[in-house]
């Protein structure tokens, strides 16, 4: 469906629905938080019912997440030694490859190899779809690194990690994109950087967004779109079909693991939906690329908690950061929405609407690229809060998606309802759950004994207090477990000591991070209630 994924220039009913849906989620969040606190003070017994029901729901929700986090971790560990390129090559000689795989079956140890079993299943799915995998030699990677202005150290880190990758760097095209106002001396430094890497890569390009008075400003989507268009021109000039180009976007400073591009290539090749999907790595940090302290990573993991657990929820999967997709798909859907505050999620929904609900996210079971913060601890908090605010801006997708759903006849109704409710629930829950679990629960827990309606509640007040606090503690422990699952394993020689120090740091820092994210989400949502959008043009 053709739909303008934008909140600009709306009139009439569209404007009304835009505002309605903008207000809905944050208003619900505030209503629940304030309502819970006020109810806890005024009618603690009634509030305790809701708190108990919510806390119990949260614990089961965390249980569900932990199961799948364990699954994700297990799957990542399972695939840790996988030779993705070997599998990718195998796809292009499928008959011989099947023979090799079948021969492997005779090896008793191979029988236990779950990874191979999954791989075989993927091959069968590809065969059933009657599609052939694209040729590995034809595939190219396009890496877009966009920023307002160049930070040469961070750029070098990212490009170095790509070159160290076990995917041939000669098949990687890197395009750096910056705002048009970049100073001349930076432009020359960037040029020198490009030259340094040019011969190690397929191509290294740099583009400065054109200096034109237009709706595209110096903000991120515009710069990235600019890079993508330039890249498309480049590939067309090289007569490389965009269907064979896999686009990935990384932030300057992101370090990509060695297997990342190989894994991405294999997944692209084996998936029948490669031209109607994006590929999302799982939010589990890879220790091998970790260079920050446990404090930084714990804080980051805690702050990314809600986002990560929702991303890991297989039913909710949407793109959120460091994803990849076909350049052809990107061009077909019209690139990233130019006025979107959260381009990472917006592109998914834009494509979802474009393909009438037929666009999906395919998980990559490989470590998540980590951005390293260079500042001191206070700067870390500021930077992290800013980053979480950026991520929370995905709340602006909801009203646009909902307007599209109202107008999209070809998207099945059940899909609309399910997607809309999960989108609303994810945003709503991420902003309220720490407040409800850790703050609002105190009032009925402490005050429910203040009032009673009969002897049963008189004597059961201690029970209510005990249950609320118990669920609170269980919820806290589970959230910390989830945060820990996200973190890489500390491979210190003295494991016991490492575990103790990790645990001591983990609790307060992770909780701080958890609240940082919710606070950011609430801030962004509240601004939206008052019509102050966070996108480029406001």
């Amino acid at each position: 469906m053709e739909f303008k994924f934008s909140h600009q220039d709306l009139t009439g009913a569209q404007r009304f629905w835009q505002r309605f849906f903008e207000i809905l989620s944050p208003a619900l969040s505030w209503a629940v938080i304030l309502g819970a606190i006020i109810l806890g003070l005024v009618k603690p017994l009634t509030a305790s019912v809701f708190i108990l029901a919510f806390d119990f729901y949260l614990i089961l929700h965390f249980t569900y997440m932990i199961i799948f986090f364990i699954f994700i971790r297990s799957r990542i560990n399972l695939e840790a030694k996988t030779d993705w390129l070997y599998r990718a090559r195998g796809l292009n000689r499928i008959y011989d490859y099947w023979k090799e795989l079948n021969e492997l079956e005779t090896n008793p140890q191979a029988k236990q190899d779950l990874s191979l079993a999954i791989h075989r299943n993927e091959l069968r799915i590809l065969e059933k779809s009657k599609q052939k995998a694209p040729y590995l030699e034809d595939l190219q990677h396009l890496v877009i690194i966009a920023a307002e202005s160049p930070d040469l150290d961070k750029l070098s880190q990212t490009i170095d990690s790509l070159i160290r990758s076990n995917f041939p760097s000669i098949k990687i095209t890197v395009i750096l994109a910056f705002a048009y106002g970049t100073q001349e001396h930076l432009r020359s430094d960037t040029g020198r950087l490009i030259e340094k890497y040019r011969d190690k890569l397929s191509e290294a390009l740099v583009v400065y967004c054109p200096d034109k008075p237009s709706r595209e400003s110096q903000k991120q989507p515009a710069i990235t779109n600019c890079a993508a268009r330039e890249a498309l021109k480049y590939f067309k000039a090289k007569k490389i079909p965009p269907e064979k180009v896999i686009v990935s976007c990384f932030e300057p400073g992101a370090k990509v693991s060695a297997d990342y591009l190989s894994c991405l290539t294999y997944r692209f090749m084996v998936s029948p939906y490669r031209q109607a999907a994006c590929f999302q790595p799982m939010p589990v940090y890879d220790y091998s690329i970790l260079s920050g302290s446990i404090f930084r990573t714990t804080l980051n993991a805690g702050a990314s908690f809600s986002q990560l657990i929702e991303a890991a929820n297989p039913d909710n999967l949407a793109s959120f950061s460091s994803y990849s997709l076909s350049l052809a798909v990107l061009a077909e859907v019209g690139y990233w929405p130019p006025d979107s505050a959260s381009m990472d999620t917006a592109i998914f929904w834009k494509a979802f609407i474009y393909f009438n609900g037929g666009f999906k996210v395919i998980p990559l079971y490989i470590g998540y690229p980590v951005k390293v913060f260079g500042q001191g601890r206070l700067g870390l908090f500021r930077e992290l809060y800013r980053q979480k605010q950026e991520q929370a801006k995905a709340v602006e997708d909801f009203p646009i998606v909902m307007r599209a759903f109202l107008k999209a006849p070809r998207i099945p109704l059940t899909k609309k309802i399910v997607s809309a409710s999960k989108l609303l629930q994810a945003q709503f829950l991420s902003s309220i759950w720490p407040f409800l679990l850790f703050i609002a629960g105190w009032f009925p827990a402490l005050l429910s004994g203040r009032e009673f309606s009969d002897a049963a509640t008189y004597y059961s007040a201690p029970r209510i207090t005990f249950l609320i606090f118990s669920l609170m503690i269980i919820g806290m422990v589970m959230s910390l477990v989830l945060t820990k699952l996200v973190l890489p394993q500390n491979k210190s020689e003295n494991k016991a000591f490492a575990k103790i120090t990790d645990a001591l740091i983990l609790v307060p820092v992770a909780l701080t991070g958890i609240f940082l994210q919710s606070l950011a989400a609430l801030t962004v949502g509240t601004r939206l209630i008052f019509g102050r959008r966070n996108s480029s043009y406001e």
């Binding site: 108990l52 119990f56 039913d315 009032e451 309606s453 008189y458 029970r463 249950l467």
Partner: protein, 481 residues
């Protein structure tokens, strides 16, 4: 993987739908109840109603009148509070399968509101206990005397202006509890007469009954229910006056040491210390007790005793020195000084006071089917006030749950909730030595304002709109059934 996801989601959803309600029910004690079957009940009813209830500092969701069922046995701190009133506090004991009933709680206002009832000032107020009338006088002459009807709040002079009785000086007033008539001795320069004043609504009916008083009587008594019969006692003899027949029967009974009237019977204490009961025609004579030794022990050798039956079994005797004894053990209550004795027939209790002390004699244990826990079957005396200065009057209030005392220059309210000393609540200040009148049916106290001696009244318990009395425990049980 898809099936695993769906199954996991289904299991967790089912877990939530099944266990969440159970969790909430468990939290609220609806399952795995923390309260055992053998529990007690606390019932509270206040006047005025609508007060908040706090048990051990925790607020009950209902307001008074309310019952708290299922309370475990034990002691609880209870506070009942209402805006504008002082909080009512008590430490209550709950017993298994029993109800702890507090259905006569008066919430004391922060400040009592009094109402002025007269324009003029008065010298004195004379209470007629149990009657709707009381007497006010502005001077000592008969023309200065008025009766006040508390029902209609009307003031009626005893005599019309210009009456030839106007200048008679009132020397003494005789009254009987719950009677609206008084006998007063009045003197003029030439004469000394006895008058019977019947205080009826709208006028005072005065009769000259001097012919029935040949000499100065030592004691005058009549039955409020049979007002035509009067009895006068003098020097061991009892005279009977029949007002209807206009006849005097001298020496109706003699050789007496005391007498009393109750329930259309006359109780006489013979000089040999035996107590008889007979009707007004001297028939149906019955010996109540005939124990010379006990009688001698109780009454001594001489002196007049007024016989005051609480009921047909419990009889008190009080002499002019204030000695108080009764026919049932323990017989001797107070050796001397008793200034007044008031009965509460429904609860079988007697209120008495001396100058600085007020106490209650409680005969309820004798009438319970089962003895109260940890108590005996003898009547109990408990002193609830020991800080008195000059207690002159006492009244039962609010169906025997409270007592009102006139102590020197103030009127005090006491809650008789247990057998310990009660804290007084000062209702009003009055002139020192002044009397007050309390009307239980109206819950009103009448007094002379010490500042201007005008007649005022204060409602001890405000009238409730829509109901005459707060919900009693019986009504509460009926409503629950």
């Amino acid at each position: 993987m898809l099936y695993f996801r769906k199954v996991t989601l289904l299991i967790l959803t089912a877990t939530y739908l099944i266990f969440c309600p159970l969790l909430i029910l468990f939290a609220f004690g609806r399952i795995a109840k923390p309260v055992r079957d053998s529990s007690g009940l606390i019932f509270l009813s206040t006047n005025p109603p609508g007060a908040k209830i706090f048990l051990e500092g925790r607020r009950f969701s209902e307001k008074t009148p309310a019952g708290l069922k299922g309370m475990l046995a034990g002691t609880y701190d209870l506070v009942v509070s209402l805006d504008g009133y002082k909080p009512w506090r008590n430490k209550i004991q709950v017993f298994p399968n029993l109800a702890s009933v507090f259905d006569k709680i008066i919430l004391v206002p922060e400040s009592w509101k009094s109402k002025e009832l007269s324009n003029g000032s008065f010298l004195q107020l004379t209470s007629l206990p149990g009657s709707r009338f009381f007497i006010l006088n502005q001077g000592s002459q008969l023309r200065d005397y008025y009766s006040f009807d508390s029902e209609n709040e009307e003031l009626t002079p005893f005599i019309r202006p210009g009456s030839n009785l106007a200048h008679f000086e009132v020397a003494a007033l005789h009254q009987v509890e719950e009677s609206s008539q008084v006998i007063f001795e009045a003197r003029s320069s030439a004469d000394s007469k006895y008058f019977l004043a019947n205080l009826e609504k709208g006028y005072v009916n005065i009769k000259d009954v001097s012919r029935f008083f040949p000499g100065k009587p030592g004691h005058i008594l009549w039955d409020p229910e049979a007002g035509d019969y009067l009895f006068t006692f003098s020097q061991g003899s009892l005279n009977k006056i029949d007002l209807a027949a206009y006849a005097l029967e001298e020496n109706y009974l003699d050789n007496l040491r005391g007498y009393g009237l109750f329930n259309r019977s006359i109780y006489v204490l013979k000089d040999i210390n035996t107590l008889l009961r007979l009707d007004y025609n001297r028939n149906n004579q019955r010996v109540i007790f005939d124990d010379p030794i006990l009688g001698n022990f109780l009454f001594g050798q001489e002196g007049f005793f007024e016989v005051k039956p609480l009921d047909d079994k419990i009889i008190f005797f009080i002499n002019q020195e204030g000695k108080l004894v009764s026919n049932l053990s323990p017989n001797r209550w107070v050796e001397k000084g008793v200034r007044g004795l008031e009965f509460h027939l429904q609860t079988k209790r007697a209120l008495f006071w001396i100058k600085d002390l007020a106490a209650v004699i409680d005969y309820r244990p004798l009438f319970l089917n089962e003895a109260r826990p940890l108590s005996s079957a003898l009547p109990k005396r408990y002193t609830f006030y020991t800080q008195g200065k000059d207690i002159t009057q006492g009244f039962w209030a609010y169906q025997g749950a409270y007592a009102v005392l006139n102590d020197s220059d103030r009127v005090l309210l006491f809650e008789l909730k247990d057998e310990n000393e009660a804290s007084p609540e000062e209702i009003v200040k009055i002139s020192k030595g002044s009397a007050v009148h309390y009307r239980e049916s109206l819950k009103k106290l009448y007094y002379l304002n010490p500042a201007d001696n005008k007649l005022n009244c204060v409602e001890i318990i405000p009238a409730q709109q829509g109901r005459k009395e707060p919900l009693s425990f019986k009504e509460y049980l009926n409503s629950k059934n």
